[in-house]
Amino acid sequence: MNDILQQSARDPFWFRDCFLMRMPIGRRASNLRELLQILREVSEDVLYYHIFQSRLALTDPEIEYPNDFALWAANALQDTKLAEKLSSFDPFEYGNMTDVREAVLEILEEYLWDLPYVPWARPGFELYLCQAQTAVIQSPTPAYTLAEFCQGLQRAGLDSIYYHFFEAPWRLGVSKVDDFSFWIEYNFDLPKLVKDIRQIDVYFYSLPELRATLLAMLNEHMGVYCERTE
């Protein structure tokens, strides 16, 4: 096992920090019909923010609903049925944000269609829509070996975990593939580890949970090198 820990990769892994600045777009939804209308009109960046990026900006301490729309349905509209529907849709199953938007609109339209009333947010719980700008900074030292990779992972910030898990499928153009398993697959003969990482249900984990899960997985495969000390 030590051999593979020290084996040099063909290409090194560069951890990247990911910094978001949220930008309110000046529109708010007080009820479900308004949300539907707004989501038809705004840019895909707005959907991308509320489905993926918001977990980096401001996440609940315990992930119950995996995107802002489901969370809003549960907390603001107090409509658990809708929250369940919005939570169960998996944005990673779609190839682009146009299709993701269509999927969200379909859920909302279908739900409203059968409803004899329009669900309203309780006062103070209106949804203010945002988008975000992203800056990505490459870490100063690359990881050539799995040992270095583990050390880098222990030092990586939560935004780095977000970037390599949540942004990767869109960047790589492959559904449910993250940067970590992609690099390991390309450079090392560790199919079980690659498979295990890809089976992590990332959408339902908080970022600290994701980091801990990944470290535990590496630890299991490679021993003591991947223990994080908080």
Binding site: F19, R22, Q133, A135, R155, G157, D159
Partner: protein
């Protein structure tokens, strides 16, 4: 003064390393903050901490303060209240005096900078005379300007539109403006007197000094005595709880000098508490940070039953002490108190009473919520995140129009 490394045990080495990596992209840039006071108020408090930290990170950061006569500050107070939605008198003569004081300050300033961050309305008009002194100007609005009085906003907007960007504390405060608007939440400093760790002995000493006994559960609200913080609603809730559970209520704060209803509210609170041995009112001087810290740590349940709120930093402070907060479902409280996770959001004195009883009877759940609350603040509302936002903001101001930049 605390250095960046003093924050490592609190936020982790990774967070501080990131600040250094971000700052490395901005090294030697000149950064100027301008506000209207060096002491007192949340803006001065955060700047007094943030400016030295930004300098430690290698940005040449200066903090400038505008000078004005009492009339100027009366005018800017009216502007402040008008932006918050109060009906205020704002005459052409007041506008002219506001411009005049800004012009005088502009003549006095000698700085040149890459970025200027102008805080709140008081110095906003400086851009008229000093536009060429800095490459980029950003207006930082700390006020809840979600429903401003039209005539005040119309006047201020003329200046704000000349800026390269503006920054608001909450999405709901954003305005219709022709430049990029960003969101930066306020923060607290975990090493300040108001928030640093205290030993049980230190906490007890403050309680002894203030005559607070811990013989029954302590419910606390820290806030000014004004109508928006609803102290009468808190008393009402407390009396409902006490019918079932022995406990005491502590209302801590200062008098509201700028709320016309303040004195009347305070008189009613005093009257309601006068013959009640279980209610204590403490009027503390504005700099009693250490005492407030100790009281928050001593409390069993902390309440912030506001009916209107900007961000609500008292909630952040309470959560940082590992306390579950019962808050009114308004403004930034909704953002911080995640219902059933870090506390409870309530809409009435009855709801407040119900949740106080719930937490008093379930100390284990209260502890768990408090723990989550502290972690939530650690990640999102500490000064290190604020510094990170400032640095990231400058990166984007430097690269206008880019949705994504790789450095």
């Amino acid at each position: 003064m605390n250095g960046l490394n003093d924050y490592i045990p609190i936020v982790g080495q990774d967070v501080i390393d990131q600040l250094h990596r971000l700052a490395a992209r901005l090294t030697k840039r000149r950064f100027v903050h301008i506000n209207s006071t060096r002491t007192g108020g949340g803006v001065a408090e955060i700047l007094s901490r943030a400016v030295p930290l930004l300098n430690q990170l290698g940005l040449e950061t200066n903090w400038e303060v505008i000078i004005g006569d009492p009339e100027f500050f009366e005018i800017t107070k009216a502007m402040h209240n008008g932006l918050q939605g109060d009906r205020v008198r704002f005459t052409p003569r007041m506008m002219e005096h506001y411009r005049e004081i800004n012009r005088e300050n502009a003549k006095r300033f000698t700085w040149e900078a890459d970025f200027v961050l102008v805080h709140d309305p008081q110095p906003a008009a400086l851009i008229e005379d000093l536009r060429d002194r800095a490459a980029k100007w950003v207006w930082r609005c700390h006020i809840d300007a979600s429903r401003p009085q039209r005539h005040v906003w119309k006047f201020l907007r003329d200046y704000v539109t000349r800026y390269d960007a503006s920054v608001f504390s909450m999405s709901s405060f954003a305005q219709n403006l022709p430049h990029p608007q960003y969101l930066i939440h306020p923060s607290i400093d975990p090493l300040s007197d108001k928030n640093r760790d205290l030993t049980p002995t230190e906490v007890q000493a403050v309680l002894d000094r203030l005559g607070i006994r811990r013989d029954r559960p302590l419910i606390l609200q820290v806030s000014r005595f004004d109508s928006f913080k609803d102290p009468m609603g808190v008393i009402q809730a407390f009396k409902m709880v006490r019918r079932h559970t022995p406990c005491q209520l502590l209302l801590v704060g200062g008098e509201a000098t700028d709320d016309p209803e303040g004195p009347e509210i305070f008189a009613r609170v005093k009257e309601a508490a006068a013959d009640d041995p279980d209610i204590t009112i403490l009027l503390l001087p504005p700099d009693s940070h250490y005492e407030v810290n100790a009281l928050q740590r001593a409390a069993d349940v902390i309440v912030q039953k506001s009916v209107r709120e900007g961000f609500g930093l008292t909630v952040t402070e309470a959560m940082w002490k590992g306390k579950p907060v019962i808050g009114g479902a308004v403004g930034g409280i909704v953002l911080q108190v995640r219902d059933y996770h870090t506390g409870f959001l309530v809409h009435s004195p009855e709801g407040c009473a119900f949740r106080i009883r719930y937490l008093l009877h379930r100390p284990e759940i209260a502890r768990r919520m408090g723990k989550l609350a502290k972690e939530f603040v650690r990640r999102h509302f500490l000064i290190t995140r604020h510094i990170r936002d400032y640095l990231t903001l400058m990166l984007f101001i430097d690269n206008p129009g880019s949705r994504f930049i790789e450095l």
